[in-house]
Symmetry: D4
Subunit: 221 residues, 8 copies
């Protein structure tokens, strides 16, 4: 495994056969395969092929992301919670990609959907819950204002994920990306639609927190 | 007077002598001169020259905007209120330009400064007051999220003004402009730093409302 | 209902089944559903499904926008007129989206098509009619000069809508958008192809005018 | 002389001494020197140096362009008229550069300033006069709508010159450039602020017309 | 007919039925119809429909451009030659659009294909021929160097047409467009792929030359 | 204090007097003032004014960032280490801004300068040391490859800071920004030159780790 | 043959029939045809047609590039080695295009795939081998860091090829292109996805080296 | 010395004292210092300081580049010639930077200035001379057509250097950069104004050729 980079297979741009082969190798060597940006056709190929080689594999799917495990696989578990927030329905597939990565790494994910600032009451209703998480991933398209607003209300680190859900000027995610980079509150940002990177970065932070909890003096300092 | 365009002298790119001459002509023909984007040098030239030609002229200044009136000038008065909002200190000169135009046109201006979403409590504290205005102008730089948040909380039309107050990617106002154009709430927008245009558009709406109030059936329908 | 944001279902990016479900919920709770950016397939699904749940629903269609109402629905009525102007045939679907929103809100819409500045006589012939409206929405693609020319001829507020109807440099609507933002006359602007936002902003202005007419002193001041 | 390229010295980026030397060489070899984009310092250096080498030289200046001629120089004369139009005061220096080139080439220049579309009556008042010219150069900044409107009203070729006179999005001349390239009427375009190129292209057309007039059958066909 | 704008029907974005209807109206009122950017399907629809309404119509086709004439149509004839040059095979459809417009207007077209600067001998071989034309249209994609080189070799006006034939950075025609705008020789430019505009501008120049020839003193001055 | 946003005064765009006033208020209310993007003139004004109001204030300076504390100020202390890395000398002022924020918040900063990938040996020599930190901030201009390389070698979270230190295409920091967003390893990113934001985000992570250490079971799990 | 430009047929944008005709002409006149950017359909057409005209032709294929030779063709041979490196699987088709050109020219190609910097050990393992080549072509997408890292480790010239393999901001190859242009090590660059140009440039260098080896004094200076 | 990167001190952004110190260290350790992008002030500081520490140092200057050597320095000598070409006067400082690097490395430089394609005769006159060099560096601003034309006429590798010498759209060097990347002939490219990188890349090729000449069989194969 590459150091510090959660291992996943990016299915986009590969043939179904190539995807199946890569998944089979991963299962054979690590009892686990995480795939992202799967087309329906690629998913169908996996659903058909894998049960033949690994009859009792478990399939967990989040939109176009898929986690396959053999019965032998020992899931990691991290004592850390990632709050995973979306502004609108259209941002959910991007968040799903992040969720797959975090769950696979053993972090607890607290998912809160559809609390964009157009309905600010719904946003504010969730603030107490969001404050419980160790860190937040916030995915938002169009003007991408949600991570800015949330980062002003919580004390924990926020990772903004711009989503390419608009149309017209900046609608390919550049309005959201530049807005998050310019945010008057504090956050760090990943590429447009890069749910995988957000989830992986959250995983790295979660591991650090988990290690700190394990190491901790326990003196409640 | 050009139809429907509030008459102002754009000082930028003119010599002090040219600016003085234009102001003198305006005062002579209309008893009034509105100037925008004045440098300190241009302002000093006006302060020296105008009192010689129009001894009892009145000077009203908003940052780099200036309204000069002779005693004969009859100010218009509009039965309409423009709420004028800024996110941060750095947005105030742009809002000042809008204020000069609205005041000159006779609208009531309700100015609320420094309520950017980084301190959301301060934003929310002003919502009831903002709902009182007939329309709002909201100036914001960096990610420009304030008009989006406000437009979700009020029922009146909002005009967003992006401000070139950031640095880095999109910091020249393009992050704020694209964010307002992509807003998940409803607003219309003017060019980056275009306080004049926002004020002029608000003035046109204010005149329509004023006329409607004058025409109105009064039946409280 | 979200404050001040006309409620509509953006069909783009949803499955026909999702669109039907959202329309049914809207009809059930508010006796009305407004849908925009419908594909023909989504439209067909609605035409088939809705009459089963709401047998006597009324369908009004403007290009890819659709307003469905139950017999119980009480239409609002606003004492305000929106002039809705297009430069060319290709701009009409964008204007249709704005028209659907304004009509749904109860405003009177005065639609004037195909008066782009390439045939300036046709533009000038309509000026008196355009002056009658309380405000104007002007949709134009390519170089987007029409709203600039009209805004110089009328005293009422103009909302420019850039349309992505060109090709080559700036043909995706950025020439029209930047031209309207740079306009030497006064207007405010919405995003490229954002007929919905233009209609919604006009609706908010129309409501303000309608309220002013109702409140008015009636003294013809 | 380079074929078909009016010979001018681009002063920008050269030292005063270099500019003087180039002008002296041009005068010595061709009895004439045309300079563009001169700074005041470069102009002063020329005014001091040239009368020493060429005591009776004639100086003609248009803003930052300068034509120097010895008494021996025989001016060309072309039977062709270039209409040279500006939208606003700020566009005049760019038009001056074009004028210098056309006058130097011997074309008649009919200059019409400050008829931008914000005051459309002033534009329309000049149409009959503009129709008299053999071709038009139209310089306009901000949204650059003037050449589009004029090209719809005349039958002669129009060359659009975008000017970098705005601020905000597209204010560096890109709004005007893209608007002219997207124009719904017919024109060709030169680079932003390229008065020299517009004048040179008009000169090439003028030479062709002049030759056609000389060749012509005279049968008034 | 709009003043100075050659009348053509832009087929792109219209249904075959709409295209047929527009062509029939044009034939009925002017005995002529010029169509550009036709798809094969639109072309087939015309080929089927027109002979029914206008049995003896003539069809002339240049790639996706089509000129239909009734037997009654009297073709104009202009005493002026347009040299029409392409750099490579891929630029030919854009030049075809220009050719259709010029031929329809009655100008003589001298077409020279595939003389891009990668094989400079082939370019130079054609220079004498190119010098014979009254003006040149030069279409070139990728880096668009051909019009720059030709404009340095001839004395007549050159209109550059950038073509979107590349890939990678600037391959959508922006490399060619910016290169032509920056040209160190003199030319004017039209939008990317805008063969129609280049042909129309050449037509306007050709009409001016034709009129000059008709008016000319014939003294061979 | 705004929730979760380290409190700093952005000096850029303020007068020396405004900066002094803001610093005095901060010192009065919180015994501490952190200022960023100070000019030399603003710094001199603070050095002169503050000792008069707060005679025994401590000054700590990092390039254009300044931390002023009264003797009463109780510094926080966090059990967390931020590795702070630069690629070249030119990136150091940006890293200094981040360092000021982290030190002010009480985190331990391990600073490693000038280990850009052009001298990869120097980069690799530091890897063991970098692995010791709880998280890394890596500032790099030009092509910004350093955070990508480091993130592939360590297991801890990396925050990339693009620096505007190049020239030519992408030299304003956009090459580095886009490179970090596209990184084939995992990191999150802040705006170009945004040392403050990187330091603030690292501070938020450090607080979470510090809390985890305090809470921890101490069972060394 | 054009001087110094390896002769290839760019299949993209041509019909299968045109591609076959061009290949046949090339085979007839030069006993060889190199084709790039072939679609499967174009490839099938060649596979069917060529054996009929040239029964014993040899086909060598690299992804979408194809080299066809008659038995009479005498292959050139160059005493020079091109190291051809890719960062990831997705970069291989672009490298294949370069390989086809180099092999066709007679250079030795040493191909090393999939050594991107995310797994830096794999990169470093190949450095000794890479140092053996006379020059390197390095193809990389996303952030394009691989050529920067390699160019810092070898003494031979490196040609970077940016690949359009990312998504989001800069994912169309502009992040990789700008990163390579900004590289803190030394390389030259070709257009995004321009494997052909990289291979052709390497071929020109290889010919120069081959000639130098042939000319050389052999004194082992 | 870093492998394969010619060692130079980039003076831009450093104080005169820092530049002097870096030069002194370089002279002390390697008897040589190469500096680029020197301001006049930095140059003056070196001229004053160096003769004190190294009394008999030699100074060679090319515009803003400077090579200082002690008498002990043994210059390398490469059996390879770099042809160094500029299009216009304004491109010379960029070429000077490349020349300094090549001369310092011991290559022979054959410099040919001011042969831009606007005067194609002058370009063609030099072709035979250009063919003598082992490789060419061609610097050109504005539309950057010169390297395209030359690369079509010679068989040796060409490195294009785009120069930021234009104004308006693409005038910052992006027109020239994109034109060279899109070139219909074959070349590789460096960043805008990157004379240093072009010279360094040429140096690496020259070293390879020099080694090949030394190794060569001498059989004149
Ligand atoms: N700050 C401003 N921004 C944009 N337009 C302005 C501004 N101030 C004045 N104007 C407009 O510019 C016109 C005056 O331009 P001028 O004739 O050059 O003084 C006025 O009629 C206004 O429409
Ligand atoms: N203002 C200008 N803009 C663009 N090109 C110009 C301008 N003035 C002169 N030129 C061109 O630049 C060339 C002179 O360049 P130079 O040799 O540097 O003086 C002339 O031959 C013209 O083609
Ligand atoms: N260098 C900086 N870059 C970006 N944001 C900053 C910087 N320094 C301070 N800030 C933020 O800007 C706010 C202060 O802005 P102001 O009220 O204008 O002083 C602080 O709360 C910080 O969040
Ligand atoms: N993949 C490619 N990318 C860029 N240029 C190419 C490519 N393949 C061939 N070429 C060039 O394009 C020319 C062939 O163009 P064509 O005449 O359209 O087949 C050749 O002479 C090559 O210089
Ligand atoms: Mg890592
Ligand atoms: Mg108006
Ligand atoms: Mg609202
Ligand atoms: Mg010429
Ligand atoms: Mg016309
Ligand atoms: Mg926070
Ligand atoms: Mg060559
Ligand atoms: Mg190297």
């Amino acid at each position: 495994q590459r150091r510090g980079i959660p291992e996943a297979i990016l299915a986009e741009g590969k043939t179904p056969a190539q995807v199946v082969a890569l998944a089979e190798t991963a299962l054979e060597t690590t009892d686990r395969a995480l795939l992202t940006r799967l087309s329906d056709e690629q998913f169908a190929a996996l659903e058909e092929a894998i049960p033949e080689t690994v009859p009792d594999a478990t399939f967990d799917r989040w939109s176009s992301s898929l986690l396959i495990r053999t019965p032998d696989y020992e899931r990691p578990s991290l004592e850390a919670t990632v709050g995973l927030v979306t502004a609108g329905t259209v941002d959910q597939p991007v968040a799903d990609e992040a969720e797959a990565v975090c769950v696979d790494a053993g972090a607890t994910v607290d998912r809160v959907d559809d609390i964009g600032v157009a309905a600010l009451d719904r946003t504010l209703d969730q603030v107490d819950r969001l404050r419980e998480a160790d860190m937040l991933i916030v995915a938002a398209g169009r003007e991408g204002a949600l991570p800015t607003v949330i980062a002003g209300l919580v004390d924990t680190p926020v990772i903004g994920v711009p989503v390419s859900s608009g149309y017209g000027y900046g609608g390919d995610g550049e309005a959201a990306l530049s807005g998050m980079l310019q945010s008057c509150t504090v956050m760090s940002v990943v590429n447009i639609d890069a749910g995988f990177v957000a989830g992986a970065q959250a995983t790295l932070i979660a591991r650090t927190i988990d290690a700190a909890r394990a190491d901790g003096s326990g003196d409640g300092k």
